[in-house]
């Protein structure tokens, strides 16, 4: 029977994980909702964030890498968007496959540049070690991760709620037809959303690197929870992504106590149950994508 | 008691309401369509006619009200069930199977084919009942000689005819036509008029139309929809003279005559 301290630790781990999931899923969902595009390269861009930070860190320090690496990923995202553009208006399959191809190619590029082996990244020196509060001993780094994730989520929330572009994205987040009808410069908005969404993946990659270690396939592992979070939370809902992410993170974190390897299966059971109960996800809205 | 009161409507609605967000499109619509008649549903743009059709055929669900077809309450039935009960429609914006030939379009609509929908083995052309029925429909709509032309290659007028043909092929008891003459030039319009005129025996037709000549000369009964309610109803002569209808249509009528 796990003790209280262990329980709380796993719970906190789950929350931190959940926040990361939410961050990745949100970026993924923005692209999904606005452009009706499943961005398969989201995972590999997450990985690239970590790798870029790894290379930049010796020159600009950890914070510098945290700022620059996502920027690099965002630029790459913009480049990708130029390619994806040709698939707009056609069967959504084509956009999906394009990003799929991009994911394959980029994963190989990572192998070419950084080699096939993994890197263990240690947390930056200023947050190394543990934080003690009474009976609880928790990794300082994870607390930093959680803080950063919350700040970023808040930033995105502010962007969506308070800015005109955000309002349009929210409107478009589950009904692209409407946005088009409003005459908004769709091209520029797509650029923005793609860059933002991919940059979010990049940031997540930077801060997750010490937790998850860095290898070329880490991207594929990171993108799969994103799918589940979006399905659980519902397409087009900010809070859906956040709650979905937290739910997924804590459930899989806690199930680690009980059934060590079953946590992934639990994820899927969770998704299935939610789909049965709420076919559009917890907070999803009815869209043209249903009958 | 007038003879009309004794006839049971084949299709009727009671208090049909539909709103999108805050915008009320239909506000308590009561309609009754007699069998074996051609009835027209007219009204200015935005009056709610196509929404009405969508409710009747099951592509939209009403917020309130009921729909009865042949005496049966069909309000919650999905569109495919209603079609199988004998209600077929054509679409205002052409909705054909564009890669299918004329023959394939019609054939897949025939009940004899539909009954074998889950037949995974028989070659489709071997369902002779469906082939025969399709051939008859193609003759009826005047597209003989074009059976093997893909729908996307037909002229607009021919596509309009095919659109109706597909609805007809379903052997409906009630045929709903949504603006069948939309965008047609003079000659295809003639063909269409003749076609519709031929059809009225054994078949109830409800037409949404803007072309007043078409409506006034062909229909037995007209219902006028304006801003979500029926403002007038009756035979063409009565409707033509009603002040409300003229008001509602002022701009439209002038435009129709000018054409």
């Amino acid at each position: 029977m796990p003790g209280l301290a262990e329980l709380v630790t796993q719970l906190l781990n789950g929350v931190v994980l959940g926040l990361l999931y939410a961050l990745i899923a949100l970026g993924f969902m923005l692209i999904l909702g606005t452009m009706e595009l499943i961005n398969f390269s989201h995972g590999v861009l997450f990985a690239l964030g970590g790798y870029l930070a790894l290379s930049l860190q010796p020159y600009v320090g950890w914070w510098g890498a945290l700022a620059l690496a996502p920027l690099g990923v965002g630029v790459l995202g913009l480049l990708l968007e130029f390619g994806v553009r040709r698939t707009y208006g056609k069967d959504p399959l084509f956009g999906l496959l394009f990003t799929f191809g991009a994911a394959l190619a980029l994963e190989e590029v990572i192998r070419i540049i950084w080699g096939p082996r993994g890197y263990t990244i240690s947390a930056p020196a200023f947050v190394a070690g543990r934080f003690e509060l009474g009976f609880l001993v928790y990794s300082k780094y994870r607390i930093l991760v959680a803080t950063l994730a919350i700040l970023l989520l808040a930033f995105v929330w502010g962007f969506l709620e308070k800015t005109p572009y955000g309002a349009i994205i929210k409107a478009g987040a589950h009904d692209s037809e409407m946005v088009r009808a409003l005459g908004i410069n769709l091209g520029r908005m797509r650029n923005l959303v793609f860059a933002l969404g991919t940059a979010m993946a990049g940031v997540a990659g930077v801060i997750a690197a010490p937790m998850w270690s860095l290898k070329p396939t880490v991207g594929a592992e990171a993108v799969m929870p994103a799918f589940i979070v979006v399905v659980i939370g519902g397409i087009g809902s900010f809070w859906g992504a956040v709650i979905g992410g937290l739910l997924l993170g804590t459930v899989s974190g806690l199930s680690n106590l009980v059934v060590p390897r079953g946590s992934i299966l639990v994820m899927y059971l969770l998704m299935t149950v939610i789909l049965l109960w709420r076919p559009r996800g917890l907070m999803g809205q009815k869209s043209a994508l249903e009958l | 008691m007038s003879p009309r009161a004794a006839i049971t409507p084949i299709l009727e609605t009671h208090g049909l309401r539909k709103a999108f967000g805050g915008h009320v499109v239909l506000d308590g619509v009561d309609l009754a369509f007699e069998p074996n008649r051609l009835s027209a549903l007219i009204g200015p743009n935005g009056a709610g006619k196509t929404t009405c059709f969508n409710l009747l055929t099951g592509f939209l669900q009403p917020d309130d009200g009921a729909i009865r077809f042949k005496g049966q309450d069909i309000t919650v039935l999905p569109p495919d069930r209603r079609a199988r009960l004998g209600m077929c429609r054509s679409f205002q914006i052409l909705n054909l199977f564009n890669d299918y030939t004329v023959l394939e379009n019609i054939r897949v609509a025939v009940p004899a084919m539909r009954a074998r929908g889950f037949d995974l083995w028989t070659p489709a052309p071997a369902v002779s009942e469906a082939e025969d029925r399709a051939a008859r429909i193609i003759r009826l709509i005047g597209l003989v000689g074009r059976e093997h032309v893909e729908a996307k290659y037909l002229s607009y007028g021919q596509r309009r005819l095919l659109e109706i043909g597909v609805a007809l092929a379903g052997e409906p008891e009630l045929l709903l036509l949504d603006e069948p003459t939309s965008g047609l030039g003079a000659r295809p319009m003639e063909t269409l008029r003749d076609l519709v005129q031929q059809l009225t025996s054994g078949l109830t037709i409800v037409v949404i139309e803007h072309d007043m000549d078409f409506v006034l000369s062909l229909s037995h009964h007209i219902a006028v929809l304006h801003r979500g309610t029926v403002i007038a109803e009756g035979p063409p002569d009565a409707i033509r003279d009603q002040a409300e209808v003229r008001d509602a249509y002022l701009g439209r009528l002038a435009y129709a005559r000018a054409r």
Partner: protein, 344 residues
């Protein structure tokens, strides 16, 4: 006679069968013995899958899972439940079909991107289950020790008899799929792809049809997966990954699955041959692969056969326009968009 051929094995199909019949003679000369078998196995998978993708227009992206499940079910049957060859294969097919039927219930009411998303999610779920249930499936090492046994006195351990064993299934599957596609059912699903709304308006319960197609593709995937595990003497999780599910889609696309019944077979052949070629060129062949993917999507989305069809089609169009001009009909329709062509 001609009608008989058209209904069972149209000339192009006979040509294809003849080609594959003679392949084992040619391939060893090029140094490949296994490639032909692999092409046929994936062709079964892809042809079945194209029923869903090319014919019904449903972009499922998790079918690699069903391929894998077929292999594992065969392996588990043979090792622990029934032994033998025929029964495990049957269990593989039927079991996978049941899995597809269950997943289908969840996904058929969704469209487009949401549909794809759900199929991905379920597909990956099966993949993970393989690792969780590792006492049964062998986990990362896979389920090894599968025997090909023998059929009609021929030991299938040898490549040539096994090739023709697979060939038999290839022929039967192709003919079965051709019948399906030519049947009333085939007419309905193609109609659903072109306009689901209209199909419903005609009285078709479209979700049910989609469910049936989904389930059928599961059966073919299970068959292919079973044959694959026989081929490799083991079942592995690798074909179930997201990666591989994308591959079957690309195969269908490259060959022209949207335009032709045979597209998937051509696509499989091109795909597997190119993979061989690329991997001899460089260790980083995955990069070339990904670039190929992107290139095909951008520049040749209708696939090889679609491209060929498009080049040949203008003749028909001009004939029609001439006929229209002669009869004095109304405005000619706009030229067709190639992506919308359905398979013939």
């Amino acid at each position: 006679m001609r009608r008989f051929l058209e209904r069972w094995t149209p000339p192009p199909m006979l040509g294809m069968f003849a080609l594959f019949l003679g392949l084992p003679v040619v391939l060893p000369l090029l140094g490949y013995t296994y490639l032909g078998t692999e092409i046929m196995i994936w062709a079964i998978f892809a042809l079945g899958y194209n029923l869903l993708l090319g014919y019904t227009g449903l972009p499922a992206f998790g079918h690699g899972a069903f391929f894998g499940v077929g292999g594992y079910l065969l392996g588990m049957s043979q090792k622990w439940w029934t032994g033998g060859l025929a029964l495990p294969l049957l269990i593989g097919v039927v079991g996978t079909m049941l899995c597809a039927a269950v997943v289908g219930l969840f996904v058929v009411r969704k469209r487009g991107i949401y549909f794809a998303l759900l199929t991905i999610a379920f597909g990956v779920m099966f993949w993970f289950m393989v690792f969780v249930l590792d006492t049964w499936t062998g986990g990362e090492d896979g389920l090894t020790g599968i025997n090909r046994l023998s059929v009609l006195g021929f030991a299938l351990r040898d490549n040539i008899p096994f090739y023709y064993f697979v060939y038999a299934f290839f022929v039967v599957s192709t003919i079965a799929l051709w019948r399906i596609v030519s049947s009333p059912f085939g007419q309905v699903i193609r109609a659903i792809k072109q306009s689901e709304t209209r199909a419903r308006a005609l009285g078709y319960d479209t979700p049910r049809y989609k469910w049936v197609v989904f389930t059928l593709t599961g059966a073919f995937a299970g068959l292919a997966g079973g044959l694959a595990s026989l081929a490799r003497f083991g079942a592995f999780a690798e074909p179930m990954s997201l990666h591989q599910s994308g591959n079957v889609v690309l195969m269908c696309l490259i060959g022209g699955g949207f335009a032709s019944f045979y597209g998937p077979v051509l696509g499989v052949a091109v795909f597997l041959v190119l993979r061989e070629v690329f991997s001899t060129l460089t260790d980083h062949w995955m990069l070339l692969y990904g670039l190929l993917f992107m290139g095909v999507i951008l520049f040749m989305p209708e696939g090889i056969l679609g491209l060929i069809q498009r080049v040949r089609r203008p003749t028909t169009f001009h004939d029609t326009r001439a006929a229209q001009a002669a009869s004095g009909e109304g405005i000619p329709a706009a030229p067709p968009a190639p992506e919308q062509s359905g398979p013939r």
